[in-house]
Amino acid sequence: MQDKLQALREEALTKINEADDLKALEAVRVGYLGKKGPITEVLRGMGKLSAEERPVVGELANTVRAAITEALEAKKQVFEEEALNEQLKAEAIDVTLPGRPVTLGGPHLLTSIVTEIEDLFIGMGFEVKEGPEVETDYYNFEALNLPKDHPARDMQDSFYVTEELLMRTHTSPVQARTMGEYKGNKPVKMICPGKVYRRDTDDATHSHQFTQVEGLYVDKNVRMSDLKGVLNQFAKQFFGEEREIRLRPSFFPFTEPSVEMDISCKVCHGKGCSVCKQTGWIEILGGGMVHPDVLKMAGYDPEIYSGFAFGMGPERIAMLKYGVDDIRHFYTNDQRFLAQYHQA
């Protein structure tokens, strides 16, 4: 009986070895290990054996069964692996075809620039203030030292709604409003970004609507050198560490002294080239020390308080920084234009 079991094992292992697919393997399993298979039969005939033989044969039968099962499993795994490999091979795709696009939007270029400016000034302790776009003549002009017959009003021909209301021509009225809000006894440190409007015919360099970011700092003992220091810090952070600034005298009714700020040309580093019209410098913003009449009108005593203000145009900055050649691009919203500036 033991010999028979040994023979069965050899026979089964040979058949397993010879099986060339899962089906043949299954037939081997059923043939040897099934309920009607020879091993079961052997085990069934155990009753005839002596008490000494029984455990020996039983153990052997189990060993044989285990060996066959193990061989079956091993062979099966080989077949399965082969089958899987076949299947994976069949599943191969062209990995060079394009992926399914994930659509991400992005901010408008002007928003990106305004946001960057906001964040730089927030970092220097400024708050961001907003105000109405339809403004009163008082806040747009008079509170900024531009009385009704002031010749400088010519500089910014405006869209009036009524005699007393107009589309703001700059965001400076927000400064006047904020100073009013702080009632002349608290420092003001703010920037005010927003849309402004002027009576211009739209062309490559003019737009009846555009964007401004203005800033104001009023406190005790604010000096003109502080204006220079703050603008320098801004310019270096925004345009690059290697850029230099220079201030030139200028005129704005609401500041005295007034300045215009140039930054060194990034192409020629101040030597002069066609980008900077041979001057080595590019005009970026205007500013100055807040005019005492503006402080007075807002309730700040110019003997105690002083301050500086500045203003810049994000469109112009975008045109300089990114080479945008037509201001109308910002407002026609050609998708191809918008998408160009969505990259990091």
């Binding site: 399914r100 928003t111 927030i122 220079k228 201030l247």
Partner: protein, 808 residues
């Protein structure tokens, strides 16, 4: 202001400054030099020639053959100019000369006759056509004074001059004169200013004997001076004067007119010359014009006057529009012999009114509008008389007939070294300040660190300490200021919640695949009132219109962002950019008045537009056009991120598809809408299926709390039930959802529609909706019985509320 450097050199020594170095210094000190232009190029072989003979060309009617003496030789030159004649002194470009525009002069044969050079016009030498005197415009230039034959013409014609173009800010009207620029340059270079000659001889006759002056409008005209120059000869002004005028952009006319223009540029004081014989009386009366009176100005235009305009009259009729333009009637002409010279101070506001009403801006009006120097008014008259005597053979009457109530006083401004340093952040000394004041040629009294500055009247812009602060700072040099950071108290800069929320909302939009657009606030009245959200419509009485729009295109403030976004979609589609997903955050302008008297409310909106394909991946056959649910999904994502629970209700809104539009509600407050634009409206933009949304950001700002609340991650599993219901097709799924939510009890954790079916397996007019309900108790595992009980309640509720039954 155009500044000829050759002219400027008459008043201030420019030393070794080149036009470029000088321009740089002027710009850095306060007046921006916007450009440098050269009158001509370096010209060689261009000399004075004398036309010894001039004969018709044998074979060409329009050509002449001339013999021209150029000093060392006599050249035969064929000339086509109509005004060439024997005995003229002319400009000859000899063979080898290169004229502006790289025009090389070569030996040539013209219709068989040899020509060795060219007789030149001013234009050919590089002078701009519009400045060339009219009588010389169509021909060669002819010298009218004695010149040396054979000499280089550069100096005679001022061809080596450089012109600085000054961009003057409104406060620096003092630099609207050569003398003003001279003071500025003298301060920069630390030089003296050389003043022009104002002397002349007089006849016995008094000016007052010839003409009287009466000023009625004394506020408008605090000074009026009338000088009389007799026996004048009208001819060309001297060449140097004409050269300077041309360099300054003024076309020479005749000696008298040129002299008044020359002095205007030199002193910044406008003068006017009348022909006294044609003036119509011997009295000058300055007054406001009568309403509707007409008057013909120099340019032969008839002007209708009003009592807002100041006029110079002969007692009867206007002879000049004060400070703006003279009259045609008493204009100086070739026959003039007696000149009435006006030197006056007119109030800027009055002049500006006339400029505005007549659309007539002149060199004169510009200066009066900005304010002239009181101390130069009369002196400009003297200077003109000096020139009239010299270049128009005039005999000058003694004195001036005048009205004088002008304030000639200098204003005092007190500055202290300490205050200057406090404001500038500098450490300059008393000595430094004294030097700066000297450079500016300002007089002052000094008491240690206190300076009482007597500001000269030419600097009308300096009235307060800060003005002087600027003068000191700019001469000291802005470059020499330190870079400091404010020493004041420290602030923490931070966005407000509203500003932070706006940024967050934009980020959600961009994450959802929409790009930001920025459109115009001003649009057409029609667009301004199109697609207005219901919550806006109830507040807006009428759109806000500009009083005087430049065009209908930008005439009215928008009540909705959507029409301009539709225009953007249309613009893109026309450029083959059909697939579009844009959003805009912007302001609408809402007024509750019919006639605007106060500022409109400015309300922030969020609007979006979707056109074309939402998603395409062609080789996988994935094409998903935008539709209502795409738009809704974006809005749902946003409100979900903002933690708001909103509902959508079928709505009818003008301009929107009546069956595909929903209003968005939060707690029964309408906060916007979404849907398909009505095909008729879409078509007017050349668009087809276009979807939009519009939300009230003000409401969102006020109702969102950005502080995150921590929720425990559930430790116990949720239990899920599906339920398919059949009901009338008209029952909105949102209503069924609401019913389920209410009936399901506290353990309902989430609820979704996952299938909608209508078709052959259901009776006509019925639809099936399938919902997935998930139950959860964070503290324990729910039992089947509990879930089952809830499920039964739901079934009962939908049956009684919507007549919905379980799908078989």
């Amino acid at each position: 202001m155009l500044v000829s450097l050759n002219w400027l050199k008459q008043y201030v020594d420019l030393g070794r400054e080149t036009p470029e170095s000088l321009a740089d210094k002027i710009t850095k000190t306060g007046i921006e030099v916007e450009g440098i232009e050269y009158v001509s190029e370096q010209l060689d072989h261009v000399v004075v020639g004398y036309v010894e003979s001039c004969q018709k060309h044998p074979d060409a009617d329009k050509l002449n053959v001339t013999k021209v003496n150029v000093g060392d030789e006599v050249l035969q030159i064929v000339c086509g100019a109509p005004n060439v004649a024997e005995g003229q002194h002319v400009v000859v470009a000899k063979v080898g000369a290169v004229l502006p525009g790289n025009f090389k002069i070569k030996q040539a044969k013209l219709r068989g006759v040899e020509s060795n050079g060219m007789i030149c016009s001013l234009q050919e030498l590089g002078i701009k056509e519009q400045y060339v005197p009219k009588d010389l415009a169509d021909g060669i230039f002819v010298f009218t004074e004695s010149v040396q034959v054979g000499r280089d013409v550069t100096e005679y014609l001022n061809l080596d001059d450089a012109i600085l173009e000054l961009g003057l800010t409104p406060n620096r009207s003092d630099a609207l004169s050569m003398l003003g620029v001279a003071y500025e340059v003298a301060a920069i270079l630390n030089e003296e200013v050389i003043l022009p000659d104002e002397t002349y001889t007089t006849t016995d006759e008094q000016a007052t004997e010839r003409v009287s002056v009466k000023v009625e409008a004394t506020d408008d005209n605090p000074y009026y001076g009338a000088f009389v120059a007799k026996n004048v000869t009208i001819k060309s002004a001297p060449l140097w004067m004409r050269n300077y005028l041309m360099a300054a952009g003024i076309r020479p006319i005749n000696n008298v007119v040129d002299i008044t223009n020359y002095v205007l540029l030199e002193y910044g004081q406008p003068l006017h010359a009348f022909d006294l014989d044609k003036f119509g009386s011997d009295q000058i009366v300055v007054r406001r014009a009568a309403d509707n009176k007409t008057f013909v100005t120099l340019d032969e235009e008839t002007r209708t006057l009003s009592d807002q305009h100041l006029v110079i009259t002969n007692g009867q009729a206007p002879q000049a529009l004060a400070g703006v333009m003279g009259g045609f009637e008493s204009e100086v002409s070739a026959t003039t012999t007696t000149v009435l010279l006006e030197a006056a101070y007119f109030d800027g506001k009055r002049v500006r009114q006339a400029v505005k009403d007549h659309g007539l801006r002149s060199e004169s009006s510009t200066r009066f509008e900005k304010g002239v120097d009181p101390n130069r008014v009369k002196r400009a008259g003297y200077r003109a008389l000096h020139l009239l005597e010299k270049y128009a053979d005039a005999k000058i009457c003694v004195g001036v007939s005048e009205y004088d109530a002008l304030d000639y006083s200098e204003k005092d401004v007190v500055i202290t070294t300490e205050r200057i340093n406090d404001r500038l952040g500098t450490t300059i000394t008393d000595q430094d300040i004294a030097i700066i004041l000297d450079k500016l040629q300002f007089t002052y009294d000094q008491d240690k660190s206190t300076f009482t500055v007597h500001v000269p009247t030419r600097r009308q812009d300096i009235t307060i300490f800060e003005d002087m602060l600027e003068e000191v700072a700019r001469i000291y040099g802005y470059d020499h200021l330190d870079y400091t950071l404010p020493e004041g108290g420290q602030f923490a800069g931070k966005l407000t919640e509203r500003q932070a929320l706006k940024r967050f909302i934009k980020q959600v939009m961009e994450g959802a695949g929409l790009s930001e657009a920025i459109t115009y606030s001003l649009t057409t009245t029609e667009r301004a009132t199109t697609l207005v959200a219901p919550d806006i419509k109830t507040q807006a009485v009428s759109p806000v219109r500009l009083a005087m729009p430049m065009s209908e295109e930008h005439s009215t403030l928008r009540l909705s962002l959507l029409p301009e976004l539709l225009a953007v979609a249309s613009y893109n589609q026309a450029r083959k950019e059909k697939d579009l997903a844009l959003y805009e955050v912007g302001t609408v302008f809402v007024s509750d008045e019919k006639e605007i008297t106060k500022q409109p409310k400015e309300l922030n909106r969020l609007a979006g537009i979707l056109n074309g394909q939402w998603l395409t991946h062609p080789f996988q056959q994935e094409h998903k056009a935008v539709d209502f649910y795409v738009a809704k999904g974006i809005v749902e994502t946003l409100v979900d991120r903002l933690g708001l629970d909103v509902t959508f209700r079928q709505a009818e809104i003008d301009g929107m598809h009546p069956g595909r539009t929903a209003e968005v509600y939060h707690n029964d407050q309408s906060i916007g809408f979404i849907g398909q634009v009505h095909p008729t409206l879409a078509k007017s933009y050349d668009l087809k299926a276009v979807y939009v949304f519009d939300l009230d950001l003000e409401y969102l700002y006020d109702h969102v709390d950005l502080e995150p609340n921590f929720n425990h991650i559930p430790r116990f599993p949720s239990m899920s039930r599906d339920i398919a219901l059949v009901m009338d097709e008209m029952v909105p799924s949102g209503d069924v959802l609401a019913t389920i939510k209410q009936a399901a009890g506290e353990h309902l954790y989430s609820l979704h529609v996952f299938d909608v079916y209508q078709g052959e397996h259901l009776p006509v007019g019925k639809k099936s909706l399938a919902f997935n309900l998930r139950y959860l108790d964070p503290s324990r595992t729910l039992t089947d019985d509990e879930v089952e009980a809830s499920y039964e309640k739901v079934l009962a509720a939908v049956k009684s509320t919507h007549g919905a039954v379980l799908r078989a």
